[in-house]
Structure formats: C-alpha cells, structure tokens
Amino acid sequence: MLSWLNVISAWSIPIIIAFIPLYAATRKVPVYESFVDGAKDGFSTAIQIIPHLVGMMVAISVFRASGALEFLVGWTGPFLQSLGVPSEVLPLGLLRPLTGTGSLAYTTELIRAYGPDSLIGRIASTIQGSTDTTLYVLTVYFGAVGIRNGRYALKVGLFSDIVGFIAAIAVCLIVFG
C-alpha cells in the first residue's frame, strides 16, 4: 500500500508536466510561447493577493501571540475531555481553519510527543489531512479576483471544518479506539 502511494506521489507531477506539452505539441500549439504567455499572469495574481494575506496574517498572529487562542483552548478543553476526546487535539481544531503552517507544526509536535501510532497521533494526522485552512483559502481565492463580499462562503467553510473535526475524532475513536 505504502510503496504504491509513494510511486503515485513521486510520479504524478512529472507525468503531468511531460504530458501537457507533449499533448499540446500534437495539437500544433506553440508550446514554449504559450507557456510563457500564460505564466505572465502568475506574477500579477500573486501580487494582488499580498494585501489580503498580510491583513489576515497580522490578525491571526496577534490573536495567537496575545494568548487569546491559548485561553480559548483551555476554556473549551474540559468540555471535550468529558466526551472522551483527548484534550491535546483540541487546539488543532481551533488552529486548523486559521493557519495551515501553525496547525501542521502542532500536528508534527503531537506526533513527535505521543508517537505516530498513538490515538492522539492518529487523530491529529486525520484532522490535519481532512480539511484545509479555510481562512487562507478564502483570502487567497477571493483576493486573487478582488471579491469583497464573500456572501456565505466563510460560514460554509467554518461549518465544514467543525463537521470535519468531529468526524475525524469520531472515525478514529471507532477505528482505532
């Protein structure tokens, strides 16, 4: 299983970047020129995202550094513990929608401290893998096209984070518990 997975992850991108130009060439597309032409948009798109990302990162960073996030974690911990959920994974539920690097660092720390094959390690891995960083996705995708009013997108994203968090814990408790 693992070797099969490794093969897929090692080969998928190389195959894509060889196949696309080859296929385009058979369709008489001037491959290099058209690559450069499309690539030009990349720079301006990335630059357009900067103000959105800076705004969001500042808020998240202040929120974390002030100890507010820690307080929130400590305050909700006992409640979750009473449901049989290891309180160590709780910060992950709060970190996951806010910061991708932050939650990945926390997951790695849990895996290091408790072992990858402990219940905590398994739950943390599942939580980290099962949803994406909602605030980041929202900021980058809407920022790239200049959308200011995201309608209900944030609510939907946070709702699915909560569902994913609960589902990850429940599934792990059933499978590994």
């Binding site: 296929y23 500042v58 994203g157």
Partner: protein
Amino acid sequence: MINWIWMGMLVIGFVFAAVNGNIDSVTKAAFDGAQTGVTVSFGLISILVFWLGMMRLAEEAGLLKKVAKLLSPVVRFLFPDVPKDHPAMGYILSNMSANLFGLGNAATPMGIKAMQELQKLNPDKETATPAMCTLLALNTASITLIPTTLIAIRLNYDSANPSEIVGTTLLATAIATAAAIAADRWYRFRTFHKAKPPGAGAGLSTDAKG
C-alpha cells in the same frame, strides 16, 4: 462576517495582551504576521507562474475541455449556473483532481484560475457568485485521497504503518465535503430562492454525495 472575525481577532488579541501584561508581543506579532503574509505571497509567485503557464498549454490544446467533458455530470450538479463548455469548468475539474491527489501546490493555481474565469461570468465584480462559493466550499473541505504530507511526517517519526490514516482521513474528508456541499446548497437556495425562481432546481438534492 469576515469583517467581524478580522476585527475581533485584533481587538480580542489587544485586550488579552493588555490584561496578561505582554503588550509588547502585539507589536512584534503584527509585524511578524505582515511579513508572513508577504513571504507566503512571494512563495506563491513561483508556483503560480509555473502552473498558470502549464494550464495555458492545457487550455490551448483543448485538454481542459476534454477533462471537463469526461467528468461533467459531477460538475454540472455542483455548478448548475456555469455554461457547460465554459473554460471555468476545466479549471474547476483540474483544481478538484489536484486536491484529490494531495497536490496542494498545483491545486491553488488552478483554483485561482477557475476563480478568474468565474469572475468573467460575474455581473457584480465585488460580490461572490454562488458558483464561487461552491468552489470555495469544495476547497476549504478539500477532499483528499492521499494526505501525502502527513504520511511523510508519520514515516519520519517511525510509524509502524504510516499510511494507516488514509482510510480515516478519506472518511472524515468525505463527511466534511458532504457537509460543505449541503450547507452551500442550503445557503444558495435560501439566498436566491426569494429573489427569483431557481434556475436549476438548486437545493432539491443536497446530499447526493458522501
């Protein structure tokens, strides 16, 4: 809502720092955060430039249209208001497949490209369309077949079976995605039902997936 969350994090952070007596940390955190924002954006440049170039090739070769046709029933169901052979469809599909295989750094450029195509269909350039919200819902839940990063980390810490979390992750992500699609459909229905009769029966079948 985003305005409240943003302001809330800043103000609550300020209050906590003031009460805890570490007001210095706010200044440092603010500038560190700003720097992270720029660093991440600059990190995106190389990925965006490369993948958008590749995607232009795929588009001009007609590859995107082909992929879009192949999986169109799924995407038609999720994006009833995007014209069938609009380029956005191909990008949405590339974005979804990249997510599926855990190719995060390829998924983002394709998603952004899909967003730009959807923006062309948008009558009000500052307000998200339902299709954009659906695309975001799919990406925040990010259905993943192979959580490659996690497997690598577990391998690193000598797990007896690093890939044993593939099954649990798949199940959890499927549930999260189903919830996202259902919620998206519900909001879409609620927002647009009153304004005008729904075009494609949105909101009728909320949980066909999962």
